[in-house]
Symmetry: C2
DNA sequence: ATCATTTCTTGACATTTATCAAGAAAAAAA
DNA sequence: TTTTTTTCTTGATAAATGTCAAGAAATGAT
């Protein structure tokens, strides 16, 4: 498989090129260590309690991040839309069990590299370490964004926002997932929807 | 000032040594670019709307992160206790205006380096880039921790936890700051405290 | 030490949203 | 298509917490 450019390799290359200059030798080594995996709709890339040992790049579909709270309610934390990296980041970098489930919402494929290989490559290639830092930075920025959304926006605003940014996707997401993502019960979301219409 | 080891240099060196091997030449250059700043209690390291252009290290006291919501209520997001890095991270890395105020809660000093100098040093020294990645990673981990605390713990549990981990500090923090940090009104916190006693 | 200001506590009340239950609508399976 | 299952909506009620107001306590200033 390695050495053959196909859609996902190309889009990965484009994706990272906006951030760093990927030297040719690093790129070749990266491809030797990366594998393409096909992921079915509803399949879990990571489950709660598992140590996430790989980092993926995906260029179609979207993933849902969720966990179960004390009352065993399924709480959706976030959705990640293509293209982008996909992993349970804190588990991946810390080696601790993941607190979250990462689930594909549509059939997709990912370009996957394992932790050991990636860290070896990062130590050899400063540009890859820089890419790793970019990734971490983006996660920190997203986390702040997420936190401010949670604290500052009403459920109604956040629902309207999700509808506006990803209308096509939202139509397919069960409302109970959206409700927990917004931090309200399905009944309350139902009432919000009635009010908006 | 540079070249002279004093308390904060030493503790900074110790602090980063647990993460990366800081090469001597990088260390010398770092010191040339770093400055020590004395910070008064209640002074702001960063204000909302300002672009945060420096990264600091502090080894005493603690800082409060807060912002004003739509109703102009002051909302405390977090406390950062010594030792550690201190900055409005997303502003620092993105160059966008900070959404938060970073305020010293006690007199302290910081070892400060500006953005331009740090990024030059990181590009020259892979170990410094690695340190930068560690820092970003820690922020991502803290953000996940924070999010789970907000979503999963009751205000009562989070208050008990803060009391347990930082009893000395908490005694000095005005309760209204703690209340907003816990996501409840001061009145509700007051009732929680009565219940606990 | 006294006064002034800020912070904290308490009660009464209003508001919001969760919970429960039951039926309607939609989706999946046969 | 028909049946079965799941998801969504709606109303009634309960629980939790915010808001307002007023007094107590603590803090800071003179």
């Amino acid at each position: 498989m390695s050495g053959i450019y196909n859609d996902i390799y190309t889009s990965f290359h484009q994706f990272v090129s906006t951030m760093v200059k990927f030297p040719e030798d690093a790129w070749v080594k990266f491809k030797k260590n990366a594998t393409i995996k096909n992921i079915q709709k509803k399949e879990h890339l990571v489950k709660e309690g598992e140590i996430c040992k790989s980092l993926g790049f995906f260029n179609e579909g979207y993933f849902r991040f969720y966990y179960f709270n004390k009352n065993a309610d399924e709480i959706t934390l976030n959705f990640h839309f293509a293209p982008g990296f996909i992993t349970s980041y804190t588990s991946f970098i810390s080696g601790h069990p993941s607190r979250i489930f990462v689930q594909a919402m549509e059939n997709t494929q990912i370009l996957s590299i394992n932790h050991t290989a990636l860290y070896q490559l990062m130590d050899l290639h400063p540009q890859l370490m820089k890419l790793g830092k970019f990734m971490a930075d983006k996660i920190a920025i997203d986390a702040e964004e997420h936190l401010f959304n949670l604290l500052n926006s009403t459920a109604e605003e956040r629902y309207a926002n999700l509808l506006q940014t990803h209308p096509a996707y939202v139509r397919h997401i069960p409302l109970r997932h959206i409700a927990s993502y917004l931090g309200v019960s399905p009944e309350t979301l139902s009432r919000i929807r009635r009010k908006i219409k």
